[in-house]
Structure formats: C-alpha cells, structure tokens
Symmetry: C2
Amino acid sequence: MLWDNYPEIKRKLRKVETIIEQNLKCRNKPLEELLQTLLKGGKRLRPAFSILSAGFGKQQNDKIYDAAAGIEILHMATLVHDDIIDEAGMRRGKPTINSVYGDKMSVYVGDYLLSRSVLLLSRTLPEDRLEKIARALKSICEAEIEQFFSRFNLDVSPVTYLKRIGRKTSALFAFSCGEGAFLSGCDENSQKNLIKFGFYFGMAFQMYDDILDLVGDTKETGKPKGNDIKEGIITIPFILALRKNATFAKNARKIMSAETIKTADIKKIIDEIISLGGIDDTRAWIDRYLQKAHTMLEPLPDIREKEIFHDIMLTLEK
Amino acid sequence: MLWDNYPEIKRKLRKVETIIEQNLKCRNKPLEELLQTLLKGGKRLRPAFSILSAGFGKQQNDKIYDAAAGIEILHMATLVHDDIIDEAGMRRGKPTINSVYGDKMSVYVGDYLLSRSVLLLSRTLPEDRLEKIARALKSICEAEIEQFFSRFNLDVSPVTYLKRIGRKTSALFAFSCGEGAFLSGCDENSQKNLIKFGFYFGMAFQMYDDILDLVGDTKETGKPKGNDIKEGIITIPFILALRKNATFAKNARKIMSAETIKTADIKKIIDEIISLGGIDDTRAWIDRYLQKAHTMLEPLPDIREKEIFHDIMLTLEK
C-alpha cells in the first residue's frame, strides 16, 4: 500500500475513510453492500493531496477530512459512470457494478454517490468553494463528452488531448490541493502554487495511466491491454506515434475503421506505437509536466509534505 | 400548451427558459445541439410550482427564476438517466439520447446537466438550502435503486410504493414549492404548507403517470403501453389489482417470471388490472392525495396563484 511508508498520512487518511464510510450508510441493504465493496481499494490519491496541501497552512482544520472525503466520493462516482462508458468488467481487481447489475444500476449508484458528495461538501465548504467543485464536475463531464465525440478520430491533436485530460483528470487534482490549502489557511500565493502543482501532477498522472493501458500489467490495471484503442479513444502515445510514420497512420486508420477491432490488430497497433517511440516520447512529456509540478513546489517551505509530494512524483517517472 | 391560459405565469416561465438556455451553453457543438433538443418540450411544472409558490410571499426576488431553472435542469438530468434505466426510445415525442448515441452518452449528458444545475443553484441559494437539493437528489437516486432491486417482485406493498414515489417524485415538487416560498419571503407556516402541498401533489402526479403507462395514449406518453410491466416495475394499479384476486396474482406471477414478457401477456395483465378495478382504485387514491394537497392550500390567501394550483390539480382528476 502506497501510504505504508508515511504513517502520519496513513493515519489522517483513516479519518477520511471513516467519514466516507459514514456518508455511504443507507437504509437499502443491497445498495449498502454494493457501496461497501466499492469503498475497498483505491489509492486515495486525491484525499491525500488535500491532506498534504493542508500541511502548508498554519491552521489545524478538521473540515479538511470532510472535504477530502467529499472529493473521493465524487471521484468514486465518476469511476462508476466511467465503467459504463468503458464497458469495463473489472475495476481495482473487482467486478464492476455494471458487469454484475448492468448499466442501469451503475447510473443510479453513480448519481447517488454524486448526491452524497454534494451533500457532504455543501455542509463543509463555503458557497463559493462549492461552485468550484461543480465546475470541476462540469469539466470532467465536458471532457468525457468531447472524448466520446472524438472516438475513432485519428486526427485528434496533442493540444486537444492535453485540453481533454486537463479537464478530465487534472481539474480534480487541482481542486483537491486547492481545498486543502484553502481550509488550512495557506496564503494566496501558496494556494495558487498548490493548485497548479495539482494540475500539472494530474496531467502527468493521466499520461502515465494512458501508457499503462497499452503496456501495463493486466492484473494490475484490471483491464485488457489496449482497451482504449478498442473503445476508439486515441491517447497521447498513439497520437505521437501516428505523427511519426505515415504508413503506420494509414494502417491504423484502416484497422480503426473496422466494424469490430480484432485483438490481434490491437496488439499490432500497440507494438507499432512502442517501436515508433510513442511510449518513450510520452515518458518525456510526463517528465516535462512533473518538472512543472516540481517548480510549483519550489517556493514553498521544505516540510515533510513537500518530500512526500516529491516521492509520489517519482512513482510516475519509471 | 398548459400555460397558454395563464399569461402571467407563461411570461415568468419564459424568463426561466432563457436562464436554462444560457446555462446550457457550451463549447462542444454536438453537445450544444443535443442539449438544445433536450430543452424543447416539457411542461415545466416544477419551475411553475416555484413561481406560483413565490406568489404567496411579499418580496419580488429575481433569484426565484434562477432557482426554478436550476430545479428544471436537475429534473432534465434525472430524465436523461431515467431513459437509460427505462431503455426508452422516445421522450416527449422525440428520440432519447440513448437511442441515438447509446447509454454511454446519456450517462455523461445527465452528469453534465447535474453539474450545471449544482453550479447554478450554488450561485443562487444559501448553503443550507443547497443541502436540501442534494437531499432531494439523494432521495430520487435511493428510490430508483430501491425500485431496481424490487423489479419483478409482485409482493411489493402499497406502503413501499408510496415511500418510493414520495422520494422519486414528490421530493422535488416539495423542494420546488419550498424554494419559491423561501426566496419570496413567505412566513414559516406558509412555507411548510406549500412544501407539503408540493409533496402531496407529487404523489398524485406520479400515480396519474403510472395510470398513463397502462392506459395512456401512446402518442402522448411516447412510450409503448405497459412499459413499466415489461421492465418489471410494479406500480399501484397493478399492486391494488393483485390484492383483489388470487387467480390474477397467480397468473401474473407466472407471466412476470418469464425470460421475456410477450406483448400479448402485457396486454392481458393490463386488461385484468382494468377489470379488477386497479385503475379506478388508483384514481380514488389520487383524489385522496389531491384532497390533502387542497387542505394545505386552504390557510393561504385566496390569490390568483391559488386558483392556478387548483386548476392544475383538476388536470389529474379526470
């Protein structure tokens, strides 16, 4: 477990865990069981980022744990709905709700989680901050919708991709850091730096995730290799490879236009992406964003939380 | 159009319409078009109830239009997600998003609408009121999840049904009335009465809708007759008929346990419900709830808005 090396963070995350559990209690027993299963697993990166950011403030504020829990519940809601979109059968090594109960159930469980998240956050955050979380949710949805309409479009540009992942993933990391910083009474400059740090980290994190989809250990990701390709989602390693070789672009276009894409063809595309340097180039992009994230932390005091942020960044560098 | 006879309400609803339109603007063109189509149609009952309730207050408050728009956007979000659950092909006489783009799209369009609704309401309402809308959303989800787990369960009791529709439908009507009353500065007693009025009306409204599913004009409802039965959703006319005749209960149980339910069998069930008085009994229930709603309005001043509320109740009496 990621946090085993950081007992002080682990202890604080346990508080968040308890709040999440309390907030997912409900009368409906089958739903309750479902939610408890959902709860297990997950690295709790976003709540941890709130907690770590709060370390840079001068106030001890227990609302941080509520906010962190609310953010994680929101994240869980988007995961449940993502699994419908992805037709995923497994998530965090467990069968997804939609693979057991069908898409219909997933829709309402996701909505239920959203309502619980808004409920918790509306009790925790002042009104203008709540607007920010609604904005983050709006961003995520816009990105997912844009991604949906861009499926199987091999002309998607790196800029479109970057904008998309900024909304899809980075916005919530930025919000997590921002709320922690705000609630702990960080000065405005530090708040801004931590928000930007979260944003840049989120970019690197998503690109890392997109690499995992292509070459990651299936057991770890819980999804078949090349699931994005099968779904027509063109991520940055693919985009970069497409721009390097016209023959590959032509072949890929042919494969991707088929009614159903064969597993062998997906493997062929992945192999080409690798040999054209799509993965390596993406790693270079990741490093660039981690560097930006790094720069945002520089003006902040050298406390333990900063070290931990650096350690987490290192996990995306391999 | 329902509001043609009430020009003052129609004029106010047009303000709400404009706010909805403004709040559904977005950069993504295909999404924009989709949302514009969604916007058309719909009776705007909930915003109208906010506006009518506001008539009992002493303040003119333009926030009422924003709140009413936020509530309608929330309602639209639940409709989009309902259409996935219902496997509906038509809504308000137009093809549903999921029938055109598939379930995946519907999920995110619904989420997007939810985020826009929360965004608008968080700008409009004080924090503790926002908690109420999150509660209403939570209620709706819980009811839909409970309904899902109760599918094809012919032992569902009238009490379970009443609790369900209280959460699924009445909660939002109650909230609509409550916000209008609150924002216009109604005294506490009037606020409570209007909230209860909305709740009781919502109960009658849902039962009326459940009758329509069985015997309504398919062109008007946009759904095939007996869609609820096909989906295994046991509504009050069915429940009441089941309790009247053991032979029917036995036959219905057999039909409902089949892998797929034939259209002829659905027709058979509907005919039996009618001849056993399930529809007539439900009408009596509707009248009872309308009477309760009526009682809540009694202590309020005899203004034009009260008349209009009475007129709308009459539309459920036939």
